[in-house]
């Protein structure tokens, strides 16, 4: 569904991503793991067009690297960005309405979608008219996911949904992702919490220093000692590639 070929991202003279290639098949959960500063967010920003990137991005058989972010969203690429980035000064409901921006000519469809996601996240329905900035971290993450789903994506990208959340809340969020996948959603999940991410993913890529250093089926990677070394270092660190 998504093919990224030789993608590089630079901020001024800083090369944050160095020619990364990944592939996400329809219906898969693919995890992208790696320590802070490994280039995970840069890869996602390159895929969604939030930063200029060199390389090819193909979605649903169509090159999208020349498109603006809203155009990519319209084709079905949605992202719940790092740190959630919900619209903290608007209500929960307004955040969801903003997610329906591209469907604004079809209010019934938006309303139906909103009802669907209130059913998926009953907590959000309880807080419907609350200002989003006053939600708890877990609720904010749910809102970020629901808001992204409001764009009716084919591919849902999540950037560190566990950030700053207690483990039990993270587990809750991840359970939701598994449910979404069962309903046919394709998910690209970026996580620092490798163990949790690998528990629900089909395949995974490990990013280090802006390059892919490891890839494979998730269960196998879960037992691979090189994962721990990628985070905490070790005798083998830097030989993984």
């Amino acid at each position: 569904m998504l093919t990224v070929a030789d993608l590089s991202v630079s901020y001024g003279p800083i090369r944050a991503l160095r020619g990364v290639s990944i592939r996400v098949g329809a219906g898969e959960i693919v995890a992208l793991i790696g320590a802070n500063g490994a280039g995970k967010s840069s890869l996602l920003r390159g895929i969604t067009g939030l930063v200029p990137a060199a390389g090819r991005v193909t979605f649903d058989g169509r090159p999208i690297d020349g498109l603006s972010t809203p155009q990519r969203v319209a084709l079905g690429v949605a992202m719940a960005p790092e740190g959630r980035q919900i619209f903290t000064d608007q209500t929960v409901h307004e955040n969801l309405l903003l997610g329906g921006h591209l469907l604004r000519s079809q209010p019934q469809r938006i309303a139906a979608n909103i009802d669907r996601f209130y059913a998926l996240f009953p907590r959000l329905l309880e807080r419907r008219d609350q200002i989003a900035g006053t939600l708890s971290g877990g609720e904010q993450q749910m809102l970020a996911i629901a808001r992204a789903l409001m764009t009716e994506p084919k591919l849902l990208i999540l950037d560190e949904p566990s950030l700053g959340l207690a483990p039990i809340i993270t587990a809750d969020i991840f359970r939701t992702l598994v449910g979404l996948r069962r309903d046919g959603m394709t998910i690209l999940l970026v996580e620092q919490m490798a163990n949790q991410a690998l528990a629900i993913a089909d395949r995974a890529y490990v990013l280090e220093g802006g390059s892919i250093v490891l890839e494979g089926a998730a269960p196998a990677l879960r037992r691979d000692p090189r994962i721990r070394e990628a985070y905490l270092g070790g005798d083998l660190a830097h030989h993984a590639a």
Partner: protein
């Protein structure tokens, strides 16, 4: 006293309109139009011109003057709004998002160009735009005020209220606020961010043009009248808190009141008082009275 308060609120509501315009462009693009004053003046003259053209075309008494005035206001708002787009393209877009505030200089330049062009059309002189409901003075006890003051007060408050509502209740308002808070997140919702920015300039310029037509019957219209009005609108926006639309409106009313109450004591000192107040407020509260602090991540 009552008279001074009404007068102050009247002027203040005009400052509030302009301050609101500053708020719109600042929150969405982090830039301001320093030529807003020229948009106010030229707006007033577009209004005058509209009245003149329509009177000539339709005959003096074809429609009531109230309608002519209303058309003039709409024409000014439209014309200035449309002019907001070249302003955005020429003076703002090359510099938006870059450090150094070069847009201060470029928008001042745009204003001088606009003013020079207008001067060659309308000349230096001041002109009177008649008030739609005549110049009678109403008396309530001791206080007397003009019909136009009420017109301005009612219209400006209606517009401020409508904007406030629109920002909170409509889809376009939600988009504006989303872009103001977080451009990337807004783009991820499928919102066309550059278009929202251009729209902010359109709205802000239209507000300036409208303000021009509103105040023209009170102050006599000249191509120099706008500068001081816009400066007070700018002051209102900053001391109210540039990031907070309601703060901007409150700032406008505050400045209007300070100005007219000072005038009770000494007309000459009113502007000195206003701008001293501005300096004082900013020395105490650098982000304005109701503004948010922008924290830089280190």
């Amino acid at each position: 006293m009552l008279q001074a308060i009404i007068g102050g609120l009247t002027l203040g509501s005009v400052y509030a309109l302009i301050a609101l315009g500053f708020n719109l462009t600042y929150t969405t693009t982090r830039t301001l139009n320093f030529a807003q004053g020229d948009f106010v003046s030229v707006g007033a003259f577009v209004g005058l011109g509209t009245v003149g053209v329509l009177t000539a075309a339709l005959g003096a008494d074809a429609v009531g003057y109230v309608w002519l005035y209303a058309l003039a206001a709409v024409a000014a708002a439209l014309a200035m709004g449309v002019l907001g787009l070249p302003l955005y393209l020429a003076a703002i877009r090359p510099f938006a998002g870059k450090p150094g505030m070069s847009w201060v200089v470029s928008t001042i330049g745009f204003g001088i160009v606009l003013q020079s062009a207008a001067l060659s059309v309308w000349g230096l002189g001041a002109r009177m735009l008649p008030a739609p409901f005549g110049d009678e003075v109403f008396r309530v006890g001791e206080a007397g005020f003009r019909s136009q003051e009420l017109v301005v007060l009612v219209l400006a408050f209606a517009i401020l209220g409508a904007f406030d509502l629109a920002m909170r209740r409509t889809a376009i308002g939600r988009c504006m606020r989303a872009v103001a808070l977080n451009r990337d997140a807004a783009a991820l919702m499928g919102i066309d961010v550059p278009r929202v920015m251009a729209m902010a300039f359109l709205a802000s310029s239209a507000l300036a043009g409208l303000s021009g037509v509103l105040v023209a019957p009170i102050l006599s219209a000249s191509l120099f009248m706008g500068v001081i009005i816009a400066l007070k609108g700018f002051s209102a926006a900053i001391i109210g808190g540039l990031t907070n639309p309601r703060g901007c409106m409150a700032g406008g009313l505050l400045i209007g009141l300070v100005e007219s109450l000072t005038a009770l004591w000494s007309a000459q000192w009113r502007e000195i008082m206003v701008f001293l107040l501005v300096i004082l407020v900013l020395a105490m509260a650098p982000n304005g009275l109701f503004g948010r602090k922008l924290v830089e991540k280190v």
